[in-house]
Symmetry: C2
Subunit: 354 residues, 2 copies
């Protein structure tokens, strides 16, 4: 028995309503709607008229349930307003467009209540494939995810090896950035947004590790006071952190920022303090977001291989989706792939010439 609220007015018009009004079966209407053959020309005509008249539109939920497909790919990002993720989403959406699939973006929301997070994860099953940015995501959440849907992870390194994973080379990238400053003469380099001593393999920790490595390789001593936390990692906190450092009397002649966004906050702080970049302090970011070409000065940064990341993610996902639709279980297929994309230094104006 139906539970539908048959309440008075305007029900949404269904394929059945169209069929009735056009005096044909729902099958025929379905064929017309989907442009399938085997329908008489004038029947098609009549159906089309009724569709227009009644303003019928197909119910995508019902269609999806029936078809077992949605032709949509989900992207889960920690925040919707971070340039890096917007730019990643755009790359993915562009690449997906020719395949006729839609990219749909959701926020995982680091701060979310468990209940909501769960609901948000459950929704992901609606997509034919899912791309998850693991930044700030709890690895154990991920582990208990137990997905039927094809999934590719993108970002740093989580513990479980249950999914295909495209990683940035956080450690070597940060080491390259740090070495660049060291080679150009900096000796007291701030790790802005650095994280320390945790066993967690999250992004700030890994990048901090690269910072240490570069110092070790070049035999430059470290000062623990130069590792400054920045939370959340945005422009305002990057700005504030630099000011605190200066207020606290910490001296430095270089900054490795954990992300470009944090670096841009830092640049602004240095300008306010009348500290010249790169003459007095060199600054390097990480991510190579578009904004780095337009800051003053233009920001030297690490390109984690953005184009290649997007391409590889999609390639992995295609493979998994093909397996999936062939009815193969996840486990039967080849073991999960894990690729690290090489990072590349992009020298602009915030560091000195050699």
């Amino acid at each position: 028995m139906s539970t539908r609220k048959t309440s008075s007015a305007s029900r949404v018009v269904t394929i059945g309503d169209v069929a009735r009004a056009a005096q044909v079966s729902t099958t025929t209407v379905s064929k017309v709607i989907n442009g399938l053959p085997r329908v008489g020309a004038e029947t098609r005509q009549r159906v089309l008229e009724v569709v227009a008249e009644l303003g019928y539109q197909v119910n995508p939920t019902a269609r999806n349930l029936r078809a077992g497909r949605t032709d949509a790919i989900g992207l889960l990002v920690p925040e919707l307003d971070r340039p890096y993720f917007g730019q990643l989403a755009t790359r993915l959406a562009n690449a997906l467009e020719p395949t006729g699939r839609q990219l749909v973006v959701q926020r995982s929301g680091v701060s979310r209540a468990d209940e909501l997070a769960a609901a948000s994860f459950a929704r992901l099953r609606m997509y034919d494939g899912v791309i998850i940015s693991v930044v700030g995501l709890n690895p154990s959440d991920l582990e208990q995810l137990n997905f039927q849907t094809p999934v590719v992870l993108v970002g740093e390194r989580p513990l479980p090896r249950t999914f295909d994973h495209v990683m940035m080379d956080n450690v070597e990238g940060a080491a390259t950035a740090t070495a660049h400053l060291l080679e150009r003469g900096s000796r007291r380099i701030v790790m802005l947004g650095g994280r320390d001593g945790t066993t967690e393999q999250d992004m700030p920790t890994l990048r901090t590790l690269g910072y240490y490595k570069a110092h070790a390789r070049l035999g430059v001593p470290l000062d623990a006071r130069l590792v400054a936390a920045v939370l959340p990692m945005d422009m305002a906190t990057g700005y504030a952190a630099v000011r605190s450092l200066v207020d606290a009397g910490v001296t430095f002649d270089g900054i490795v920022a954990v992300t470009d966004v944090v670096a841009i906050g830092a640049l602004r702080a240095l300008a306010d303090l009348g500290i010249r970049v790169p003459a007095e302090v060199q600054v390097v970011g990480f991510d190579n977001i578009d904004e780095t070409e337009f800051s003053t000065p233009r920001l030297t940064t690490i390109d984690p291989g953005n184009e290649q990341i997007a391409g590889t993610v999609l390639q992995f996902l295609e493979t998994r989706m093909a397996e999936h639709s062939a009815g193969l279980p996840r486990t039967s297929s080849k073991p999960t792939a894990e690729v690290t994309i090489p990072a590349r230094l992009v020298i602009r104006e915030s560091t000195r010439r050699a």
Copy 2:
């Protein structure tokens, strides 16, 4: 007869599988999953065990079809990598969070093939409510949209009055920005990203209109060469447009940029050209994105009332959704609301002190 590919291996586990394994009915499993009462403690226990063992997860598509709800709100934006939309999305997602609904973002993709655009629109019916940013959207597309789902429009002014609509005050905002430069001494002001002579009421045209208005009010003459097109509207094109202007020998002492992003490109170009801001050229943007506080110099801009826009959009949407779920037809309810949020000048460093 089922069409499912009963192919060899791992089918996705359904509620029926759980029921069978736990020796109960699907009804009971459903109740357990949804935490409903009227289930024996040990039955519940057993079901839960089976759920865990089989790794069952509910199929949200099926649930949605049955429930007639998705608990998700769709947001359609022209691009995923524009700060303004990322920041709008974040505001909306934050406000939605307490209501237990998820925001889901899709790109309308101005450049998209019709077919894809249609599919993208069809998908919107999956949401309980839809927020559409009409920037760059064809009004006729919108008109033939014929939506059953509650919709609120946000942005500039389209022709059809078929939906609730929250508008920025593009004209007065741009007039305020322009007047500000005029009052601070600029006399030859570039309208960067301006659009002219069209009958279209799109965002660039409306903002250009405001630019004209301010000149008229203050009795300052116009020069057609100062209205410079910028397409697409991003940092790179803003940058290029300023350089072209200078290369073409056009002189100017102020810039009203159609968006903050374009203004940031302009700032970079001026820096490269050795033109001092605000001493030689004053610059004002539009949107009040977060980045304006961190550019060098900080950007004076127009705040279109971002917080209020998000709040009003959601308020309209709630109302429509309530009507909708009460079974009322769109037409029976009060006429569509149309609100213009007042714009506000935010003075920073890219314009001179009075």
